[in-house]
């Protein structure tokens, strides 16, 4: 009604413009205030504590400004090793997840909805299970007298029990298992959005199934794969539990180092500085990805 009427209602609107504007602002603020409590909690739990750590990372024992905590990271070899290990574990875990996750997501995406729902449970069940439980399960499976060692010896892959856990191998196996759903779910989402007609068109134009896959399907699934890989990589960077248990003290990642510094030296400055660097690395990775891959569209699914 108020759209029609031209001048007349236009004048009316002009008369009420001030009141209308005031009411709109009031409504916007009322709405915004609904997000207030959540914002308060996030500020209390994330912004103030992390900000405080940021401050602590620049303060020495006497309360003076210092860059010592950051200088230590460059000077001491153990820090460099920690960063290299963290990067190595994160990268390898991401690569393993891509190699294993792509065929699985592809398989799930090909299935009719009725079946994919059932097989999807294989991805969702581990996702919903406590990571402590899964880490414990791998500890059992990978130990010297575990099933995997027995099986390997039984079929003659190796003669004596090999060390599968409390080292890098165990850490990577456990982490890949825990991270896989984070790759498969966005990748599956991206694959489901691919228009099947594209594949028909490729086939119709004479492409073999293999060629059609690599030239049409794969490029279209890339945004989902990039989004999933990023989530995995970023989560790996700050991961604590699995490397601590399955690494058996041999795989020192940044998170492990932070806890060790706090437990052994009670040095808040060093621990904070390490945490700040970790956060910085995470933000840089996400920022670069957002720039190059239009990440928000892939992550938050603007459909």
């Amino acid at each position: 009604m108020n759209c029609e009427g031209g001048m007349e209602s236009g004048d009316k609107r002009l008369l009420n413009a001030k009141a209308l504007k005031a009411q709109e602002i009031k409504e916007q603020w009322t709405l915004m205030s609904l997000a207030g409590p959540t914002l308060l909690i996030i500020v209390l739990v994330i912004f103030i504590p992390v900000g405080w750590l940021f401050y602590l990372s620049f303060i020495d024992g006497d309360g003076q400004f210092t860059l010592e905590h950051y200088r230590k990271m460059i000077e001491y070899k153990s820090y460099a090793r920690t960063f290299v290990t963290t990067f190595e574990v994160s990268l390898l875990t991401t690569l393993i997840c891509i190699v294993i996750g792509y065929p699985l997501a592809y398989f799930l995406a090909l299935l009719p909805a009725r079946w994919s729902g059932i097989f999807m449970l294989a991805v969702l069940l581990p996702f919903w299970t406590s990571l402590l439980v899964r880490t414990y399960a791998w500890l059992v499976l990978l130990q010297r007298k575990g099933i995997l060692n027995d099986f390997g010896q039984h079929i003659g892959l190796w003669d004596s029990p090999i060390k599968l856990v409390h080292n890098m191998t165990g850490t990577l196996i456990g982490m890949a298992h825990i991270m896989l759903p984070f790759l498969v779910l966005p990748l599956y989402g991206a694959m489901k959005k691919i228009d099947q007609n594209m594949m028909y068109a490729a086939s119709n134009l004479g492409a073999s199934p293999v060629k059609a896959f690599w030239q049409v399907y794969f490029p279209l699934s890339l945004p989902g794969m990039v989004a999933g890989s990023l989530i995995v990589f970023v989560l790996c960077l700050g991961f604590y539990v699995t490397p601590a248990v399955l690494g058996g003290g041999r795989v020192i990642m940044v998170a492990t180092q932070i806890t060790a510094i706090l437990e052994n030296q009670f040095n808040w400055g060093s621990a904070s500085a390490l945490g700040v660097v970790l956060l910085f690395a995470t933000v840089v990775v996400l920022y670069l990805a957002a720039r190059f891959f239009k990440l928000d569209a892939a992550l938050f699914g603007k459909s």
Partner: protein, 273 residues
């Protein structure tokens, strides 16, 4: 024509040509699921050591778990935290998601990004930060402190689930109700909420599980008589392997399986209605 030579799609692919994919996918799915279920037979072993398959069966680790006041107390703490987090995170997250979705203000995008930072900031950093800040105000080792911290971790997930639900819901229905005289509050509760209720339930289950399974913040912030189940499990895993963990793990797998199947059932119901 057998299944092997029958076409798998309309692009010259047969099931036979794709058979390798089925095999690979089956192996991967088994590798995903087996570790989750391996704890069940382990928990009925009679042995002190991690042997598989167990040579003798018993329920002694369940006796151990249910008979230990330490484990029982930790379980009660974790359940309490899970329920309180769920009761806090679900309404708060829903309110925030609704507000940011409906409002057309320019800052909504910025606020949304601020509210999902718990998903971006490494949890270890949140954990030590909260440990430090809570230490200053005496909230460490307390239930309220842990509930606040876990709520911050769960709310972003609630927001993402509810925002996705609101996207597929036609907001004009609420406008109709309001133009017919309903207040915004009434329109929300009588028109919008019933239509997104399955997503609200899913997000509630998700926030319960987020708190119940949370390890790292609990390691730092919980302690003493308020230590959570996950904190006790973690130290038991790191120091020496107590087979009681197999019994606890079995119960946890059971809980998450039930919750997952519940959300799946809710999801299919939600699609139908």
């Amino acid at each position: 024509m057998s299944w092997w030579t029958s076409p798998a799609s309309d692009t010259q692919v047969t099931h036979g040509a794709r058979f390798w994919l089925y095999v690979v996918a089956a192996i991967i799915m088994l590798l995903l699921v087996i570790p989750t279920f391996i704890v069940i037979p382990m928990s009925f072993s009679d042995s002190q050591y991690l042997e598989f398959p167990p040579s003798n069966w018993s329920v002694r680790w369940y006796d151990e778990y249910f008979g230990s006041s330490k484990w029982m107390r930790a379980t009660v703490t974790s359940l309490q935290l899970g329920v309180l987090t769920m009761l806090l995170a679900t309404p708060l997250g829903t309110m925030a998601a609704y507000a940011l979705f409906v409002s057309r203000h320019k800052v909504t995008k910025v606020i949304f990004m601020l509210l999902i930072t718990p998903l971006i900031v490494p949890v270890i950093l949140i954990a030590i930060g909260v440990f430090y800040a809570f230490g200053r105000v005496g909230l460490n080792n307390s239930i309220p402190g842990l509930v606040i911290a876990h709520t911050a971790m769960a709310t972003p997930l609630v927001m993402i689930v509810i925002t996705a639900a609101l996207r597929s819901y036609d907001l004009n229905q609420e406008r109709v109700a309001r133009s017919l005289g309903a207040t915004r509050l009434k329109a929300f509760f009588t028109i919008t909420l019933p239509q997104i209720k399955f997503s609200v339930i899913t997000s509630a289950l998700l926030s319960f599980l987020t708190s119940f399974d949370e390890v790292i913040i609990a390691i730092f912030v919980s302690g003493g008589s308020n230590a959570t189940l996950t904190k006790r499990m973690f130290s038991a895993l790191r120091d020496f392997i107590d087979p009681t963990i197999a019994a606890i793990s079995t119960i946890m797998v059971l809980v998450s399986t039930i919750l997952l199947l519940a959300t799946q059932a809710i999801g299919s119901k939600g699609k139908k209605s």
